[in-house]
Homo-oligomer: 358 residues x 2
């Protein structure tokens, strides 16, 4: 795959207009590109941005917690572009037909502060989460791994499977969910995508012979999806579901036996599996492995854990990649988002002059 | 004016759709309502939300500073609704025909985390800033004040004048700007709105006989718009322009002679005029005056200062008020922002099924 050049600018719309990528438009972009190519190029974009980690302004996300869930803002900037994602996490949303995780994002120019793209990110978050998991596993999973267990078969599961197939060549998928219909939905979708997943009746059966275990459940509570004696030497654990205070998936004994890799340590200490460990327990930020500063997996017997909570740079990369896909088109919805008076100081005059017209 | 009831829900759109209020739609809402009534009802909504201050989750805004300006996120929630505003501040944007301050905002339901409205906020911020200033002045300006100096005649100036006219009956406006064409633009607009402003050649002349001084300049630097001996006893200063670290408008000696009122103290300590004072210098949060806990102005000789930087609750109130205005209409742009698969867990299936259609 050739290196992706993301520098090409969009055709310049009028100053009041911000290009909008709707859900429909995002689906078209993904399907036109091909899901696997989209995942691969997105993973490469994220990997490249992680490699220049120090050029980003980084914050833990700003979370507003409530009884039913959380609303989060995830901003970051590399000094040229600024991105922020709005994302919720509401485990009971399914009861009213809504997504557990819904999101949208904004990409802006730093020199003007003006948004240059607004995009749906529910679908894009699912894609970037899977791309990040598989990108991390390139450094952390055992060589030649072909079997992955997926515990939790909700909205994120198929994307994980496809990303691991595309980036690592994993082709055996073992599914478990406490809700059998979720596993059936997942298996059906993966079969249509050309894979042959197996549905298992317990987490123990699902992880048999799996070199990679992906946990991606959604309950907002301490759950113990995996206990210590279930995880054999050499396994790579891709822990995706635990991602806020009080929400974890792994027994702490597993953590103590694992080499732990995280995205942005200050955020993961609050939100990740490692919230169960003392705050000085050693972890390695993934970007240090990508840059070659630290080794990832060091032996075939080691247990590695990617304690993934999702970080703003992944969303920055995803928006940057989508903008790249839009580069030669005006096939977006133009949003009349920014007031554009003839004289920038004359906002009031713009309003008064509109009176005749409206 | 009857009390505003803001509880009426919007007609329920499909789950994928978020109502969008464009700049054009916002202008129509303001003009249909009438600018003065809009300002008065907005001020009342802000005042009511300030009165229930303790029901809000409050943060200082999250600011990304760069050489050219700042991009800020301003979130808050009352447990039922969540609002966040994206706003930039780029003093040199006028050179490329852009607004110094451009903004948009999102209003969401806390129980689902789903956005229920996305709105332009460039115009709305100008309106809410002016409404907040005038609402504060009801408590702080000298009784019967009819003359206001406006130092800085850019995009915000006319809104300030109209809000003070509407809420306090101020009808004499004395304008000064280092750029004479800005004053002329402002005077022209105010004349059309039925006012008779005077353009003066210096700040000293502008503030003669003014009971209220509004400073609303835009340079991102320590500027001294007012020095101590210019401000006589009994004056109310409405300081709007200084609103980020390193950006102030008043000489610190003025601050030391004034009763200082702020929106949210932790944020104003960083961004307001009081960044020039020791961090323990006494200030009063405006909501305490509104609730009756503290007195505002206590004598005719006192200098009062509203050190305004803009706070998230004002934007929350503004979005809530706009939603109220939209209550009986579907006259908004429907944004296809949120993925809505038939089965919420089946995001991947939604994508695959779209293949046939797209």
């Amino acid at each position: 795959m050739p290196a992706i050049q993301l520098a090409v600018p969009l055709p310049t719309p009028p100053l009041n207009v911000v290009p909008f990528v709707s859900v429909e438009r995002m689906m078209r972009l993904v399907l036109q590109t091909g899901i696997e190519r989209f995942l691969a190029e997105l993973a490469e974009t994220i990997e490249n941005d992680f490699r220049r980690w120090n050029s980003f302004e980084k914050h833990s996300r700003l979370a507003a917690h409530s009884r039913d869930g959380v609303i989060e803002l995830m901003p970051t900037s590399d000094g040229e572009l600024y991105a922020v994602k709005y994302v919720n996490g509401h485990p009971y949303n399914g009861r009213s037909g809504r997504q557990t995780v819904a999101a949208f994002g904004v990409l802006s120019e730093v020199w003007t502060g003006y948004p240059v793209m607004i995009s749906e990110m529910t679908l894009l978050t699912a894609l970037r989460t899977a791309a990040t998991s598989a990108m991390a596993a390139k450094y952390l999973a055992p060589q030649g791994a072909r079997t992955m267990a997926i515990i939790g078969n909700g909205a994120q599961a198929e994307f994980q499977a496809l990303a691991f197939k595309t980036l690592l060549g994993v082709d055996q998928f073992r599914l478990f969910d406490i809700d059998a219909s979720a596993s059936e939905k997942c298996a059906r979708n993966l079969a249509k995508a050309g894979l042959s997943p197996k549905i298992l009746r317990s987490p123990e059966e699902a992880i048999e012979h799996a070199q990679i275990i992906t946990t991606v459940t959604a309950d907002k509570q301490m759950a113990t999806i995996l206990i210590d004696n279930m995880v054999g030497p050499g396994t790579h654990i891709n822990a995706v579901g635990g991602d806020c205070p009080g929400k974890t998936e792994l027994h702490p004994d597993i953590l103590r036996r694992s080499g732990i890799f995280v995205e942005f340590e200050p955020q993961t200490r609050i939100e990740g599996e490692i919230q169960q460990l003392p705050s000085d327990h050693a972890v390695v930020e993934l970007h240090r492995v990508i840059s070659g500063e630290y080794l990832g997996r060091t032996s075939g017997n080691e247990i590695t854990l990617f304690d993934s909570v999702g970080f703003a740079i992944e969303d920055f990369s995803a928006l940057r990649y989508v903008r790249h896909l839009l580069r030669d088109t005006t096939d977006y919805e133009p949003l009349d988002l920014l007031a554009d008076p003839d004289d920038p100081r004359d906002l009031f005059g713009m309003l008064m002059r509109a009176e005749a017209r409206l």
